[in-house]
């Protein structure tokens, strides 16, 4: 099949970031192509836990996270489905005094960001959330956070983009991008060629290859979060649960299944694919039975895993390329991209249209990974690599 498209913006990667950017750009009147090597939303955007959570994010992400927060309740009007978005609240649990101190410190640090965090002590927790085991010391509640169904939201954005007139090309891997005069020439799939003024690299765990092609290597690695799902149960978990220090996160969907994560899967021979580990799944199951006594007799019916991009400083890369005019990066969401993605899509559309955005994204510049050429570069690196990232991999902020 030979096909040529001459468009304004080519988006590489049809995850939630790429497809929400595509829709936003199309609504601004741009001609857009959205390319995915497989199916839109089939990777991290579609297989993540489904947390719609601002709480626990690094402070520098909060303006962007707040912007996304405004998008979630508007899904129905934007893409035609609500994506099973529930503003349930997000409750982060503390197992120890130390954990509680971390939650208190975080609440103080982000007090000016409008999250409305409420710290809850042991007695308050017993009273309001009696289904949580008594060994839990306290918690921090962000009442405005919630959860949604990632399988629907990402596919919903992609199909809304298609309906709006975006050229959605699935099973069309991008095999080459080159800067060509005023724009870019792309080769994709079998015989697809594109000419575009602007390229957005939102290729998730595959984005580092494209960045490297333009002389911008990044320390991207892959993580494979692993989750379990219970059979449908009567309503037990009224809030989306996180745990300070990691180890478990859990939510109950409207039809009753509990989705619980906190372990990592294993990549297969082809590291694009992964699968849950039996021991890991069992560990999550046992932990769930301990922390939520009401679930002790429930059955696990399904495990899943997926491939996500991880950055060493827990922040994504968002913004213009440092080497190539017209190239915009947006990847590396480190297990916490779901909530923020619809905001990122809007920001990317603004960058493409105006060359700038009203939302602060300086902390996410790809330049922070360039060879330190002076004090400025080093500053950026140390700013990004947070001391808290020394705790276990699935700690704070991991997995949204």
């Amino acid at each position: 099949m030979s096909r040529h498209l001459d468009i304004d913006v080519a988006i590489v990667g049809g995850g939630l970031v790429g497809s929400s950017a595509a829709l936003a750009l199309r609504n601004m009147g741009f001609s857009v192509a959205l390319l995915d090597k497989g199916f839109c939303g089939a990777q991290a955007s579609g297989v993540n836990y489904g947390g719609v959570r601002r709480q626990g994010r690094p402070r520098e992400q909060l303006p962007l996270s707040q912007r996304a927060h405004a998008v979630w309740p508007r899904l129905k009007e934007l893409i035609g489905i609500d994506g099973e978005f529930l503003r349930s609240g997000h409750l982060k649990l503390a197992r120890s005094e130390d954990d509680m101190a971390v939650l208190e410190a975080y609440a103080a640090e982000v007090a000016d960001q409008g999250l409305g965090l409420e710290l809850i002590g042991h007695n308050g927790l017993r009273e309001r959330f009696p289904w949580i085991d008594g060994s839990i010391l306290g918690a921090s509640l962000c009442a405005g956070d919630g959860h949604a169904n990632p399988r629907l939201v990402s596919a919903g954005f992609a199909s809304a983009a298609r309906r709006a007139g975006v050229h959605v090309l699935e099973n069309t891997p991008v095999t080459g991008i080159a800067r060509n005069g005023e724009g870019f020439a792309l080769e994709a799939g079998e015989g697809v060629s594109l000419k575009a003024r602007i390229v957005i690299n939102s290729a998730g765990a595959w984005a580092d290859r494209f960045a490297a092609d333009f002389g911008e290597p990044v320390p991207l690695s892959r993580i494979y979060p692993s989750m379990i799902v219970t059979e449908p149960l009567p309503s037990v978990m009224t809030v989306n649960i996180g745990m300070e220090g990691g180890g478990i996160y859990a939510r109950q969907v409207e039809r009753g299944n509990c989705v619980v994560g906190g372990e990592r899967g294993l990549p297969l021979e082809d590291p694009d694919f992964s699968r849950p580990r039996g021991e890991g799944a069992l560990a999550i199951m046992n932990r769930t039975a301990e922390v939520f006594p009401a679930l002790r007799h429930a059955q696990a019916i399904r495990f899943w895993s997926g491939t996500e991009a991880s950055m060493p400083d827990r922040n994504p890369v968002i913004g213009f390329s440092g080497t190539t005019p017209g190239l915009i990066h947006a990847f590396g969401f480190t297990g916490a991209g779901f909530q923020i993605a619809p905001g990122v899509g809007e920001v990317l559309a603004e960058l493409a249209r105006d060359g700038r955005t009203s939302t602060p994204i300086e902390a996410f510049s790809i330049a922070r990974f360039s060879q330190p050429s002076g004090p400025a570069g080093q500053d950026r690196i140390s700013h990004g690599s947070d001391a808290r990232s020394q705790s276990e991999p699935q700690s704070r902020g991991a997995h949204s």
Binding site: N286, R296, Q299
Partner: protein, 462 residues
């Protein structure tokens, strides 16, 4: 015994038993893991309690085979490790997770024989979820294992050799069989004559079942269309079309099924490559004539790798075990292996003819009423599936699962994936193989959250 881990056999039906026997004969001590409380598989399933019925009562013309298999497995006592009522819920790379007696164990294996069997294949029809409707296999199990009937006035409907067999067994057991409704037109039964030279016994037996049913006044209808089960709260009747005329019968039990489908989840978890099989209309793990899968050390035998029946399963189980011995460099009987392969080839040809005599009504999928429940676990209708496929522009079964929840419940698609694929293919105008294959994930069946990892090493069963 060396420190080398045991071969692991999954399933103690005809294939698993014969594989175990061949290993023991070669001096190996296999571990046999089976979900049932006693050996025999589904076809030679044993009654739960001694209820006075003889094996002849239970297995009819196949009583001899059942007795021989049960005896063969009993004779291995002390030379195999046997875990009945054990669920193998995950495996990969020489390690299996097995839930048994309230705990779960990690078991190392060296060589894996998957003899996982089959379940009924179903295309949903209106009313199929009413109490009183069973699959054909389920109807048979109720009779065999529990000694009870699915109703007092029963209709059997669908396709496949089991249709006439189960109806006959119910009649023999003294249950009123109101009718046998065969989805295939009478003309295709002429194919059975082509099967005569391959296995006259099985063909004549099937013909005898039909003849005896007729003699006892059971109506046998062929070429039926528009099957629908009626009732409020439970089955009260069944309706269908036949040569343009609407017909209806009162009944309180329905056995329904469209032949069988292979249980391939574990082969998928083991990493086996799959290929679409036209005859079974299913993606099946690739295997060679000996049963070797695409993954070294994994062997496939019996209906779990492709529907061929119990006689083939016995032979395939033994053949697969011999292949493992050969691959280990252990002496094995080459002539026996070749004879088994020749037998399997003959049965394979017989199967092709039988399939032509009991064809799957593929055209039904397009006509399934939107209100019909397609996925029972998640309560997803055919209409919801079509709507999701259309809304998200989906033509692939795993994507369909993601957006519609079809196949996402307790059965993980074992019961609904084949039908969902048919509905999706019909709705998108694609051939059935183009919509792909539902990928398996552990656990293959539900397991309790509080399941504890056994601290001790696996004990050797007596």
């Amino acid at each position: 015994m060396s420190a080398r881990p045991q071969p692991l056999i999954v399933g103690a039906g005809p294939a698993g038993i014969r594989a175990a026997e061949a290993f023991v004969a070669a001096g190996l001590r296999p571990l046999v893991v089976d979900e049932a409380p006693a050996c025999g598989g589904q076809i030679y399933r044993q009654r739960l309690v001694q209820d006075g019925r003889s094996t002849k009562d239970l297995y009819g013309s196949e009583a001899g085979k059942a007795e021989r298999l049960h005896a063969a497995f009993a004779a291995l006592d002390g030379r195999v490790d046997y875990w009945p009522q054990a669920l193998l819920w995950n495996l990969r790379d020489g390690m299996a997770d097995v839930a048994v007696t309230g705990t779960t164990r990690r078991v190392a294996y060296d060589g894996l024989v998957l003899a996982t069997g089959a379940t009924d294949r179903v295309l949903p029809i209106l009313g199929w979820t009413l109490p009183g409707v069973f699959t054909l296999g389920g109807s048979q199990i109720a009779l065999k294992a529990q000694g009870c009937a699915i109703g007092s006035r029963v209709v059997f409907a669908g396709s496949g050799p089991l249709l006439y067999l189960v109806a006959w067994q119910y009649m023999k057991a003294g249950v009123e069989v109101a009718a046998v409704l065969d989805t295939a037109p009478a003309s295709v039964k002429l194919n059975l004559f082509k099967a005569l030279p391959l296995d006259a016994g099985i063909v004549l037996r099937g013909m005898r079942f039909a003849a005896e049913l007729r003699l006892r006044g059971v109506a046998i209808r062929t070429g039926i269309e528009g099957l629908r089960i009626e009732g409020e709260g439970r089955v009260s009747g069944i309706a269908w079309r036949e040569g343009g005329r609407k017909r209806r019968l009162a009944c309180d039990g329905v056995g329904y099924g469209l032949a069988l489908r292979s249980e391939t989840q574990l082969a998928d978890l083991a990493g086996c490559a799959f290929r679409f099989n036209e005859r079974d209309r299913a993606w099946l793990p690739i295997r060679d004539a000996a049963g070797r899968a695409s993954v070294p050390g994994v062997y496939l035998a019996g209906d779990g790798a492709g529907i061929a029946g119990a006689d083939a399963a016995e032979r395939a189980g033994e053949r697969a075990a011999l292949a493992l011995l050969e691959d280990r460099g252990v002496a094995f009987d080459k002539e026996r292996a070749m004879a088994l392969e020749a037998e399997l080839a003959r049965i394979g040809r017989l199967r092709d003819v039988l399939e032509a005599a009991f064809p799957f009504p593929a055209h039904w999928a397009a006509a399934i009423d939107d209100a019909t429940t397609l996925c029972r676990c998640e309560e997803i209708t055919a209409g919801a599936v079509r709507e999701a496929a259309n809304r998200f522009d989906i033509g692939e079964i795993n994507r369909l699962k993601a957006v519609s929840r079809v196949g996402m419940g307790r059965c993980q698609g074992r019961m609904c994936a084949a039908a969902s694929a048919e509905v999706l293919a019909a709705a998108t105008g694609k051939p059935i193989d183009a919509v792909g294959r539902l990928r398996a994930q552990a656990p293959v069946k539900p397991i309790p959250l509080a399941l504890q990892l056994a601290a001790d090493l696996p004990e050797v069963a007596e």
